[in-house]
Symmetry: C2
Subunit: 438 residues, 2 copies
């Protein structure tokens, strides 16, 4: 009955086109003006299969469940939120991390499974068990992450039944689908990839992330998953991750709010090439190459998270130099990057350096008004405790019309320096977060 | 020539009516929805004369300079911003405070004289000298305060010439005019008064303040001036002020930003009645009465500052109980009160208690998710680490439609408690602060 087939195909096409049109319209309206022009295309990694589905956890008509499967056990490292009220999935991951081995990751959007009491623990246990059953592994080899509303009970039975079919259909070439399923208020998917040399063999590092709001990671970001096919010991992975998170996901802030659910996991499958010897020592010359590759992925993803900060129109890079220590520099940089008055000034494209003085002053660490100098991009606006005599309001105002604003403060006391990335505070941020739950 | 007089009167009347109409229109458009229905009418204090004028420092067509004159020397106490980059007037006041005696206060709006280097110091010196010359006093008896844009040089010659005329015309009944001259983005004047009993004689305490934005006093508020006609030693005044500021001006936050210019001064003229003996000892039974009166003024003014927070639609009262210490409770309360996500949820009238959990978790002090309970007004929404089983979304949502939102968090660990007042974060806040300088 070829006619029936044709009809079915037409129907299928119709819905597909409708989907594209609606998605297109919603993307045009909503996408961050700072979104990258193109997205990285992540190559498949051997033995890493991904599958998404619509579990209807909160959203309708979009994917909200992601299953990442490692066909052979992968080594794993992780860093998590420092919140005193972490989510149930964060508790689960922390507990199993000492095993150092992963066979799968189950991630959902729409519900954070945070502050959900015993129900939350039951949900993580049931999910880990269901996923492990699909893969013939143990629950302590299944990592979990959830993002969305806090405090809503989440019933695992809602999606555990979907995992076997997902495991069956999972494919290696679904990285873009994967990241789309874990978006909440993100307006674009966050992806990064690098290929580096390991003993003459190419090895891949793929990374995905979600961000958008509640971003002042006191450790990592919201959710981010990095996978390499290089063979690397779990302890080495952890060392690289803990080191490289400092100046990447720990150096960004959207709104100074720290999520209950921040989770950053790094996996190594060792599937690139069986001839490559495992990386087990820090003095192995390949350590630096891998660490640099991981840093680049983390840097790229964390900047994508900031540029997709809720309502963001400007990327703000705050560089502090001349503080008494690096720690003091970071405190001052955070004070500037989190100041609502600095962030609204950037939103208004106003070179209001007086608010930078205010933010330096309130940071609480050593500063001397009369040694302070402030730049907006290449323009020095203030020096030696007063307005720069050569300062041109017109030039500074022109600079503020750009989308990447660099604010530099030289404290003039020592050699401590730090950089923090943030975004501006706009009416859209208020709009998004005044309506998020309803 | 009675005709000419009548004409003059008509002209005067015409401008007065025009002023009222324009003021009325602008007030209707702009005034905070949380503004008090009536303003306190401050009684004259003997020997305290006030005068305002239009110096054109930044604003046109409104008063921006206030001269407060003490005909006889008043005792004085003060607390100031803890900013590491304080304004030149703050430096001046701090320097002269040990004298403990005041003859006048010169306050301007439109320019903060902060981060203005040597020019800023020259301006404070010239202003203090000019005011002292008018009054036959010394410069170290003249207090100064400035509020407005940071980093713009301010030339004292712009207004020092106006002071002699102001001193001549100053009157005791101009408290409302006085506070209007020091407003910046305030939408209503902040006033409070009390009369208490001192040895059978009534003594007055009058207070005025300005607030609006850059409000997270790590000590006091923006600018506030309290005057009593009771006879009180400077050391006693200082003791009362330092004690009572803690739970008033130090317990409010609009945007977590601390000004370079926060100044709170308390004066005692002793002009109420010559028969009253001076208060010089803390164990004097009148100490408590005065301290309570000052507390009430500070409390009332600080709440007025919060309800006039830039763009505020809701007053937020955050009460934290059951923390390990009072200090820990205050840290948690501040974390909730400053969280952009909590503040936007209140703006959106959304009982999003999950964000309160987040803010408790990120505060960095001891907390236990599974002992935490959260109330919005009388409604308990969460208890024992999960949503309250008896929680009604409808009741909580109705509660959020009010203008005074009480958020209570019981940490369940000890007896530490604290209250912080704040306001919501609205699109108007972003609008006001994106345009402020231009």
């Amino acid at each position: 009955m070829p006619d029936k087939c044709l009809f079915k195909q037409l129907v299928r096409h119709y819905y597909f086109i409708l989907f594209i049109v609606i998605r297109g319209i919603s993307m045009t309206v909503k996408i961050s003006p700072l979104a990258p022009k193109t997205f990285a295309k992540l190559p498949p990694i051997k033995g890493v299969r991904l599958q998404t589905t619509e579990a209807g956890i909160k959203y309708k008509g979009r994917t909200d469940l992601l299953f990442i499967i490692f066909d052979e056990a992968a080594n794993v490292a992780g860093v998590f939120t420092r919140s005193k009220c972490p989510s149930a999935p964060v508790d689960h991951c922390r507990k199993i991390l000492s095993h150092g081995v992963a066979r799968g990751v189950v991630i959902n959007s729409g519900n954070a499974n945070a502050f959900t009491g015993k129900n939350g623990i039951a949900t993580t246990e049931a999910t880990a068990k269901a996923a492990a059953d699909c893969l013939g592994s143990k629950p302590q080899e299944i990592y979990l992450a959830s993002t969305g509303v806090i405090g809503e009970p989440m019933d695992a039975s809602r999606f555990t039944g979907l995992l076997p079919e997902m495991a069956k259909n999972a494919k290696e070439d679904k990285w873009l689908d994967a990241v789309k399923a874990i978006m909440t208020t993100d307006t674009f998917p966050k992806l990064a990839t690098r290929t580096i040399d390991f003993d003459g063999h190419p090895v891949i590092i793929n990374g995905i992330a979600k961000g958008a709001g509640m971003i002042a990671p006191n450790m990592g970001t919201m959710l981010s998953f990095i996978v390499t096919d290089a063979p690397v010991d779990a302890a080495i992975l952890q060392e690289i991750l803990s080191d490289k998170v400092r100046d990447t996901f720990n150096a960004i802030t959207v709104d100074s709010d720290t999520s209950t659910s921040d989770t950053l996991l790094l996996f190594a499958t060792g599937t690139a090439n069986k001839e490559i010897k495992s990386l087990t020592q820090k003095n192995d010359p390949r350590y630096q190459a891998l660490a640099e590759g991981v840093y680049e992925i983390l840097h790229e993803l964390s900047l994508q998270v900031v540029t997709d900060g809720e309502g963001a129109h400007h990327l703000i890079e705050v560089r502090v130099e001349g503080a008494t220590t690096n720690e003091a520099a970071k405190t001052i940089a955070r004070s500037i990057a989190n100041s609502p008055l600095v962030k609204t000034a950037v939103a208004g494209e106003d070179a209001n350096w007086g608010r930078v003085v205010m933010a330096v002053g309130k940071a609480g660490v050593e500063a001397d008004r009369d040694r302070l100098a402030i730049w907006f991009g290449p323009h020095r606006l203030a020096v030696d405790g007063e307005r720069d005599p050569h300062y041109s309001e017109e030039e500074a105002s022109n600079y503020m019309k750009g989308t990447h604003i660099v604010i530099k403060a030289d404290i003039g006391l020592g050699n401590g320096c730090a950089t923090i990335w943030s975004c501006d505070l706009t009416k859209e941020y208020v709009e998004i977060n005044g309506d998020y739950r309803s």
